[in-house]
């Protein structure tokens, strides 16, 4: 440590009788922590549904697909979370997934790529389309909402055109080796010695785990992640602290596109087909997960665990209500209400930090 501050200055700066400035309100008690609250809620609801309908615990028919859904929507949520971290939105998250899977489908169909090579091509395509959105936003300064909305529109037109041009039934039929198996493989198929995993956990979930670890590591430990959060908190201050904000905007959108592609791949594997409609239902869950999990819409704060738990909560409720006989489509009513309630909590938190004089909007 060799800061150019001498002892005289340090002595002058110290105010021995000045009180330490405590964050008003003190530390949040553990039970008020949003993520722990979510975890308890998920477990409690799971137990409740299990008691009402013992079939809820059926490993093969319920738990396995439930976990597969949670895994996929967690990745969708992470895709949205990446842009929320800089205070932006990505309305084209589903269409980016469709676009990437279209490229993956082409790579399987025309170029006869292997399963993972195709995934890689898809991820690159997703990253590229996301970076394009970010580039337009950074260059023109147009609101991310409009840019991604227009891009959504554009892709909505483009994707079916390509499908009709290249396929007979608006779906790529060539399936690389291993795709069908991956759909049903669980941890039970992975053995170390005699110890095998649980048959209830799909192998696909590993993709989500990898995504969570990578994204979580980026945001908590790397310079990139910190710079994204700083940009989300205040673009002006970030620019004046030497952060390349334009490049960070592009990075955030590229990450979003890449994760959207991964989610698209997981959906393609679990439904067994690569078609134009992939990702159509991604938009609402993409916001539900992160926001329920505590990610701020205004940017500057994210939670990877929260995104996973928020997604788990909605998926458990969806599945549970489905088993209780609530029509699948009317589930929307409950999901919408959950979102409103979740946001009121987001709002309450904002009000609380307002009171502490932290936030100025």
């Amino acid at each position: 440590m060799s800061a150019p501050v001498s002892e005289t200055a340090t002595a002058a700066l110290h105010e021995p009788d000045a009180p330490v400035e405590q964050p008003r309100g003190g530390r949040t008690p553990w039970w008020a922590n949003q993520r722990i609250g979510l975890l308890i809620l998920v477990v409690a609801l799971g137990a409740l549904f299990g008691i009402l309908r013992p079939a809820f615990f059926n490993q093969q028919l319920v738990v396995f697909p439930l976990l597969r859904d949670i895994a996929m929507f967690t990745v969708v949520g992470l895709a949205q979370m990446c842009v929320l971290s800089i205070g932006h939105m990505n309305l084209a998250v589903g269409r980016m997934a469709a676009f990437s899977m279209m490229i993956t489908g082409i790579s399987y169909d025309l170029w006869h790529f292997s399963l993972y090579a195709g995934l890689l091509v898809g991820l690159i395509a997703g990253t590229a389309i996301g970076a394009l959105a970010g580039w337009v936003i950074a260059r023109t300064g147009v609101n991310s909402f409009v840019v991604t909305l227009a891009l959504d529109f554009l892709l909505l037109g483009l994707i079916p055109l390509v499908y009709t041009g290249l396929t007979d039934n608006a779906a790529f039929v060539t399936k690389p080796e291993g795709m069908r198996e991956m759909r049903n493989y669980s941890l039970a198929d992975i053995c170390i010695g005699n110890v095998c995993g649980s048959p209830a956990v799909p192998q696909l979930a590993l993709f989500a785990v990898i995504a969570m670890v990578v994204v979580g590591w980026i945001y908590s430990r790397t310079k990139l992640g910190r710079e994204l959060l700083m940009t989300g908190t205040s673009v002006k201050a970030a620019e004046l602290s030497g952060i390349p904000t334009a490049r960070r905007v592009i990075t955030a959108h590229a990450m979003s596109g890449c994760l959207a592609a991964l989610a698209g791949f997981m959906l393609a594997v679990s439904t067994g087909s690569i078609k134009a409609t992939i990702g159509e239902e991604f938009m609402l869950p993409s916001f539900l997960g992160p926001i329920l999990g505590g990610t701020l819409l205004a940017g500057g704060f994210i939670s990877v665990w929260g995104t996973m738990l928020g997604t788990a909560l909605t998926s458990v409720i969806r599945k549970g209500l489905d088993l209780l006989g609530v029509g699948l489509e009317s589930l929307n009513i409950y999901l919408g209400l959950i979102l409103l309630v979740a946001l009121s909590t987001d709002r309450v938190r904002t009000v609380l930090s307002d009171r502490q004089g932290v936030r100025e909007r």
């Binding site: 037109g157 009709t164 999901l335």
Partner: protein, 334 residues
């Protein structure tokens, strides 16, 4: 004279020129077929609802908000009307009135939620959209409800002189009323003031909250009319009504020159933009292309028009920024 010059430079004028050129092109491409009464009628028939949903979005954009629930509100109201008439035998006028009121209340609710919770309007309307989609499905399930009186259907397909569909005229009347409301009434002016400069509006004693609620309610009411026209003009209502409204609802005002930051009332621009989008669709049919082309073209146009708009405002800003210090330098010399 000055006013005419000013109009010549507006987005509306540009759109008008593009629209006319496009139309002439279509007429030539169709070897004059498009000028036949029947073709014109079909062209205008399918314009009524797009005009209205564009306006429903425009009015919330004017106050600096947005409404993701346009399709859900419209679809829900349309299905409610259909079910009331077909399943419960409610007389047509009463059913239409109830549907219209339901849509208005849904809009009012959006406004109230935004104002009371201070949650971002994007999320509020995303949530109400989801809820209403569920309700719409509850109402009709997988059926198509079409057993409502023939009178309503003939209203929907009636055309004055065989050319001007009644429902298109209704849409134009709504557009006219909205224009008068935004230009000439005190609540309309206050709404635009709140959108244009909320701080100045507040200092002038205008309630920005009230403006937001009025805008959302108006949006709901316009969607109510759109729902009535949909019920009247389509063979039946089902769960997919309104499903494809969201993107066109943004396309028309944005192409029409609306600012997302609020404060712009572009009724004419929105109507003209709806015309142009319709022409794109007509051209698509004329050359028997995939329907997807329409979305692709419109998406490109929307992106292009916002980017161009942004470049234009930036250039203007640069000009004004340069102006002030120049003046200061001049002051130093004098």
């Amino acid at each position: 004279m000055k006013a005419t010059l000013r109009f010549a430079r507006t987005t509306e004028m540009t759109l008008l020129v593009i629209g006319v050129v496009f139309f002439v092109f279509l007429v030539i491409a169709s070897h004059g077929d498009l000028l036949e009464a029947n073709s014109l009628r079909v062209l205008l028939q399918f314009l009524a609802v797009p005009v209205l949903i564009g306006l429903a979005q425009m009015v919330v954009l004017a106050v600096g908000q947005l409404n993701l629930a346009v399709g859900a509100v419209g679809g829900f109201a349309a299905c409610a009307m259909g079910v009331l008439m077909a399943d419960h035998g409610v007389p047509v006028p009463l059913a239409l009135l109830i549907g219209f009121l339901l849509a208005s209340v849904a809009g009012l609710l959006n406004g109230l939620l935004v104002v009371l919770t201070r949650i971002n309007g994007f999320i509020v309307t995303l949530a109400t959209m989801t809820v209403l989609l569920g309700v719409q499905y509850r109402l009709v399930g997988t059926r198509t409800v079409d057993a409502y009186p023939q009178g309503l259907k003939s209203f929907g397909s009636y055309a004055v002189f065989g050319v001007l569909p009644l429902i298109f005229l209704v849409a134009l009347v709504v557009a006219g009323l909205l224009a008068v409301m935004l230009r000439r009434t005190v609540p309309g002016r206050q709404l635009l003031a709140s959108g244009g400069n909320p701080i100045a509006a507040r200092l002038s004693g205008i309630s920005n909250d009230r403006s937001v609620i009025i805008a959302h309610t108006l949006s709901g009411a316009i969607l109510g009319v759109a729902a009535i026209l949909t019920v009247a003009s389509s063979p039946g209502v089902n769960k997919s009504i309104g499903g494809d409204w969201l993107l066109p609802s943004f396309a028309a005002p944005i192409i029409g020159g609306a600012l997302l930051t609020g404060g712009s009332a572009v009724v004419l621009g929105t109507v003209l933009a709806a015309f142009i989008v319709r022409f794109v669709d007509t051209a698509r049919a004329e050359f028997s292309l995939e329907p997807s082309w329409v979305n692709f073209v419109v998406g490109t146009v929307v992106l292009g028009s916002v980017v161009l708009g942004q470049v234009r405002t930036r250039r203007q800003e640069r000009r004004t920024v340069v102006k002030a210090p120049d003046a200061a330098v001049a002051g130093g010399v004098s």
